[in-house]
């Protein structure tokens, strides 16, 4: 199947800007550069939308616009945290108002499936609509559902995306678990900063997957595989080797590996080991210095890979060979591991 179009809202302005000059931040949380939503969403609808809903809807609509499709056969979303700001809003009001005088809007908008539902409402699209909430596999679950629908012939074109947002509360709470750097660091050098923690991130990325080639696709999506809590680095290696073997792809056939290194020393150990074994002498790039770490960040990686294949240019490696085959390997908190294989059309 093919990635026909993409829509992405992240801490980076666009892929062309990323090639020219990636946005660099000194912080421990990377927030999105948001567009002027009034050009994308009806202002009457915007007033009820929280930031994540606007980000998700805008990325989804941008993706559909590029594909020239306004009624996909399915809309599938993956999100780990859902609409956090709205959830915080109505929970806070419950406490403040002693469980009385609760306003409906924040509650209605707080459900995890709001982004997918809003896109469907705007399109008046009554087709299959589903949202997956599965921690670090949320986006992968959405993708697997989309792939299954297409492979089973139940859908020809599917809008699928991953969305997650940072709020002050979520950043504070997750910081207590030691997930993020305690001091601001330059996003350009998070991989050199020793020690614990990474940079918090957020984003919304959507893809229009199509059964048939359109002649102007970004890339072909060959396969997706997930594995959970591998017992050790050798199990990770075996999963990757088996995944490639299943696709009849040799490690030497891969032009570019996009890894989920995030600057946390413990998290990155597995990537270091792979770069000395299975990925030895392979061209590889990281992506979490561009978008931060969040449970659906692999959607950003997929957006990056699709653009690399379409343009033939790898951010940070302008002289590298035009990539025809890209492997994405990411893990979230060393628990949820995912692999994507893409190739040129």
């Amino acid at each position: 199947m093919y990635i026909r179009s993409v829509g992405n809202i992240s801490a980076q302005l666009s892929f062309s800007q990323l090639l020219k000059e990636p946005a660099v931040y000194t912080t421990n949380r990377l927030t999105c550069i948001e567009p002027d939503y009034s050009t994308i969403v009806d202002p009457k609808l915007i007033r009820r939308m929280s930031r994540i809903i606007k980000m998700g809807v805008a990325a989804g609509m941008e993706c559909l616009k590029e594909a020239g499709i306004n009624n996909p056969d399915a809309i599938i979303t993956g999100t780990a945290y859902g609409c956090l700001a709205d959830t915080e809003s109505f929970l806070s009001k419950m406490v403040e108002n002693k469980e009385e005088l609760l306003t409906p809007t924040a509650f209605i908008q707080s459900t995890h499936n709001t982004v997918g539902a809003q896109i469907a409402l705007m399109l008046k699209c009554h087709n299959y609509n589903n949202t997956f909430v599965h921690r670090g596999f949320s986006f992968e679950s959405a993708m697997l559902d989309a792939i299954t629908l297409i492979n089973d012939g139940d859908a020809a074109s599917v809008l699928v995306g991953g969305v997650d947002e940072i709020t002050n509360t979520s950043h504070q709470l997750l910081s207590r678990f030691g997930l993020y750097k305690t001091n601001p660091v330059s996003s350009a050098s998070i991989f050199e900063s020793e020690g614990k923690g990474t940079v918090d991130g957020e984003g919304a990325a959507f893809f229009l997957l199509d059964k048939k080639a359109s002649g102007n696709d970004y890339a072909a999506l060959k396969a997706l595989h997930t594995f959970y809590k591998p017992a050790g680095k050798s199990v990770v290696e075996k999963n990757i080797s088996d995944f490639l073997a299943m696709q009849s792809v040799d490690a030497n056939d891969i032009d570019l590996i996009i890894t989920g290194k995030n600057g946390d020393r413990k998290n990155d150990e597995v990537y270091e080991q792979l770069s000395a074994s299975l990925f030895k002498n392979k061209v590889s790039v990281n992506y979490k210095h561009l978008c931060g770490e969040y449970p659906t960040s692999s959607a950003f990686a997929l957006w990056l890979a699709a653009n690399c294949i379409k343009t033939g240019i790898i951010p940070g490696l302008p002289t590298a060979k035009k990539p025809s085959t890209i492997l994405i390997y990411n893990n979230y908190l060393s628990i949820h591991h995912s692999l994507y294989l893409l190739s040129a059309c």
Partner: protein, 85 residues
Amino acid sequence: MDKLMYNLKEQIIRQLNLKDLKPEDIGDDQPLFVEGLGLDSIDALELIVLLQQEYKIKLANAEEGQSVFRSVRTMAQYITEHQPA
């Protein structure tokens, strides 16, 4: 009454997040729903909460809502008649 209506307009704008509007943009007798400001049923619930929060007035029955929330003036009249002393 004029002061109350102005306050109401400010509160409606804030409660419903009508960022593009100023109190002067809302007519005293302009319908709030459908053809007027274009509010809908979710907004009606927000307005009920607004009455309770700001003026300690609880609508006795839901059927009243249609006449109470017809315009800013009808809301102001209802508040004047029902606000606790």
